[in-house]
């Protein structure tokens, strides 16, 4: 920061220190007794106000190296992250947090938290999403002032929509006094969280170092409490670089987070719900964002079996074993239509669960449920919604709205249902089991269509992968609807980490990056992470595989290469068709061909093992074998598979 010229000038840190030192001195002179002023200069442990003591102990603001015995604000911020048990900080570098970054690396030893180098702020936040879906706790995403927030905003929106805790730390230079012209001024803001406030749960911009830990704690609590979501803590650059005497560091309190007990429904409500479910002829359980940890699925299985009721997993998370005889997810329509009670568990959007709306000229909703069906909503997933950005369709009322954590309510609900269970439940369960027993055989028959086709069918692709990971603990961290949900239809999925749901905001680029975060979280568990990402998604954030290589994150990264943003190809074709105009132009602006991309070459350029393009189904098996061998060595591997659109 200091220049080489000898002309007197006010530099940012120098001015700050001068002002900081002068301020308390004036305050002490006018408001505090001489004894108190003297006490303010006493070392740690004294009763003096910490802020005052800290500021009066600043070393001379000459731009000289940090004097012995002094630390900086970034060191305290690093301690705060450590106190919050944040293991990683995903970040694409930016000067507005240089003081913080240097502290994490040199003061903190780059361990807990450790820097995870990202090549785009959007990827940083998506890394954190994938990581949180496995671990249940936030990763920090450190992003540059203003421009970094702008880059990250779509991923933040995804995290909000998907209700995933992400701890965003944004750099900033709040005081305009010391902003240099150019980048430093451009990357500073009075209130940069304003850009994303519509879709974050909480934000703070502490203006003193002493306030930092409180702000850090509140942000953390907001991220993980209730319906989780992203939060933003703005770390002022001046504060990061502010010097404090190490004796006074202890005066800066560290955040402490206690155990969190989610709110469960009271016993009377539980009894009312159990009565409704047990008295129903045809109850249905419909699950959205329920399965978030290793207790979620066993509890839901216990409830479903106590009721012998059909379960529809809408795949917002991995909610229910896909091969369970009560799982009617792929044949759920008749069950919903005949239901007298539907228990919607942690639905983000109740309307979408009970009503259907096709892409027609005139959009008339069709009820999925009967006229007299009673709908009970159990959960808190809808409580974080904000008015400006959606995630919900039309308003749909629940007959009984139980605003309590679904998993927290499960044990009491299960017990209540067991007490009221009726003998006729058994016949219902048998009937459902008879209707689901052939689903796998049906899936096999459908998977055989186009089995030898080139481009390779998505069913064949998924079957070939499964054959080689079926004995592994594994995670599919990517959306599967773009592959016709073949993993759910062909594989065995019964752990919460087998599938992580969707992006939340349908923001493209999520899959590729979130997969890396999930793989990082899986690494200590030895789980195989299998990303099934589209070529369009991958091209939003191709640098994520470099991050995997750099940090030695094992992942089988399969690019479902259908040479386009295929959803948009279908949309354009549909528009042209509906307007009775040329339908042969749907590939303009929607496809990624002419020339075709060489993803294997791209991956190689980033130090990643890769193969492809693979377009002959016969070549799939050996390619997957070789790639998995690399993954089991602890490295990433990329396969470019030229496949059918869906």
């Amino acid at each position: 920061m200091s220049g080489s010229d000898k002309q007197p000038r006010i530099e940012r840190r120098q001015f700050l220190k001068g002002a900081a030192a002068a301020g308390p001195a004036l305050a002490a002179a006018s408001l505090v007794s001489p004894q108190a002023a003297q006490a303010a200069q006493t070392p740690a442990g004294a009763a003096a106000p910490a802020t005052m003591a800290v500021r009066e102990q600043h070393p001379p603001g000459t731009g000289q190296p940090l004097a012995p015995g002094y630390v900086v604000g970034g060191d305290h911020m690093t301690d705060c992250l450590r106190a919050l048990d944040i293991e990683y900080v995903a970040s694409c570098p930016g000067s507005t947090f240089r003081g913080f970054q240097e502290s994490i690396i040199n003061y903190g030893g780059n361990k807990k938290p450790e820097f995870l180098t990202a090549l785009h702020e959007d990827s940083s936040v998506h890394f954190a999403m994938g990581y949180a879906k496995i671990t249940g706790k936030p990763m920090a995403a450190m992003i540059h002032g203003v421009v970094g927030v702008q880059h990250a905003s779509m991923a933040i929106y995804n995290a909000f929509g998907d209700q995933v805790p992400v701890y965003i730390i944004a750099g900033n230079l709040l005081s305009e006094w010391g902003r240099r012209p150019g980048a430093e001024a451009a990357h500073s803001s009075t209130d940069q969280a304003q850009m994303v406030r519509d879709y974050i749960k909480w934000d703070e911009q502490p203006t003193t170092l002493r306030d930092f830990s409180n702000a850090a704690a509140r942000c953390y609590e907001a991220a993980v409490s209730g319906a989780p979501g992203p939060v933003m803590l703005t770390a002022d650059a001046d504060m990061q670089e502010e010097a404090i005497h190490e004796d006074h560091k202890a005066d800066l309190r560290l955040p402490k987070i206690g155990r969190r007990i989610p709110a469960s429904a009271d016993s009377g409500t539980v009894q009312e719900l159990a009565t409704m479910l047990c008295n129903a002829e045809n109850p249905v359980l419909s699950l959205d964002r329920y399965g978030n940890n290793d207790k979620s699925i066993p509890l839901m299985v216990e409830l479903a079996e106590a009721l012998q009721a059909p379960v529809i997993d809408t795949r917002g998370r991995m909610n229910f074993p896909n091969r369970h005889p009560l799982n009617v997810s792929d044949i759920g329509g008749p069950y919903l239509r005949n239901a007298d009670v539907v228990l919607a568990v942690e639905p983000r959007d109740l309307f979408g669960m009970v009503m259907a709306l096709d892409d027609e000229d005139v959009r008339t909703p069709r009820p999925r449920i009967g006229q007299n069906t009673k709908v009970v909503r159990l959960g808190i997933s809808h409580t974080s919604q904000k008015p400006n950005y959606g995630g919900s369709q039309r308003y749909a009322p629940a007959d009984l709205d139980i605003q309590a954590d679904a998993q927290g309510t499960m044990p009491a609900l299960i017990e209540a249902v067991k007490r009221m269970a009726k003998p006729n439940f058994a016949a219902r369960g048998e009937r459902i089991a008879n209707q689901t027993k052939n689903l796998l055989e049906r899936a096999k028959a459908e998977a055989a269509y186009g089995w030898d086709a080139s481009p390779i069918s998505t069913a064949r692709l998924c079957a070939e992968i499964w054959d080689q990971i079926k004995n592994e603990e594994y995670t599919v961290p990517t959306e599967t609807n773009f592959l016709s949900s073949w993993p759910q239809r062909l594989w065995v999925m019964d752990k919460y980490y087998n599938f992580l749901g969707r992006s939340g905001g349908w923001g493209v680029g999520y899959n590729s990056a979130a997969a890396i975060g999930a793989a990082l979280a899986n690494k200590p568990h030895g789980r195989v992470t299998v990303a099934l990402a589209g070529d369009g998604d991958f091209m939003m954030a191709p640098g994520v595989i470099w991050t995997a290589a750099h940090h030695q994150i094992p992942i089988l990264f399969v690019i479902h290469n259908n040479r386009g943003y295929h959803q948009e190809t279908m949309h354009l074709q549909r528009m042209a068709n509906r307007r009775n105009r040329a339908v042969t132009t749907a590939d303009i602006g929607t496809t990624i061909k002419d020339p075709n991309m060489d993803f294997a070459m791209m991956a190689k350029s980033m130090g990643v093992y890769s193969e492809g393009p693979v377009s002959n189904p016969v070549d799939l098996r050996p390619a997957i074998q070789r790639a998995l061998a690399v993954v089991k060595r602890g490295e990433p591997a990329v396969l470019d598979i030229v496949a059918q659109p869906r």
Binding site: I297, P325, A453, P455
Partner: protein
């Protein structure tokens, strides 16, 4: 819209009684090779896959392909997620070529002949050891976590 829905309903009825109608109405002659190219060019593949195996849209092939009257009526009149193809975008001959292509798609291998598919497991989970709430309730699954 109402007309289109009606047409769809008619087409659906035809599906139900398709066998008889199929016997009555022969598809016009078509060129399968040309039909394959048209199938891709006009975008049928986007929802139904290059082989007609299905994707976002239902499977069209391999057979049995729906009877020509059902097939052609649906393509010309549907108003649901799939908009209708008029003769401006798809001539009668081109539609016949597509039909020829779909009926010529060779049968898929039987799942039983594909070892990979046959190895796919059945039910997940372990025999349930819990006391179930009512006598005789099916024993399905015990959590392994």
């Amino acid at each position: 819209m109402k007309f289109s829905r009606l047409a769809f309903a008619v087409a659906s009825v035809c599906v139900l009684s398709g066998g008889a109608l199929a016997a009555q109405a022969q598809a016009p002659a078509g060129d399968a090779a040309r039909g394959k190219a048209i199938f891709a060019r006009v975008g049928c593949y986007t929802c139904h896959g290059f082989e007609g195996q299905g994707g976002v849209g239902p499977k069209l092939a391999p057979g049995p392909v729906r009877a020509w009257p059902v097939f052609s009526t649906f393509v010309r009149t549907t108003s649901r997620d799939m908009p209708p193809f008029t003769t401006r975008n798809l001539t009668d001959q081109e539609l016949a070529d597509i039909y020829a292509y779909l009926t010529a798609v060779p049968a898929s291998p039987a799942p039983a002949s594909i070892p990979l598919l046959m190895q796919l497991g059945g039910r997940s989970g372990l025999p349930c050891k819990r006391a179930l709430p009512c006598p005789g309730a099916p024993l399905f699954y015990a959590p392994t976590a």
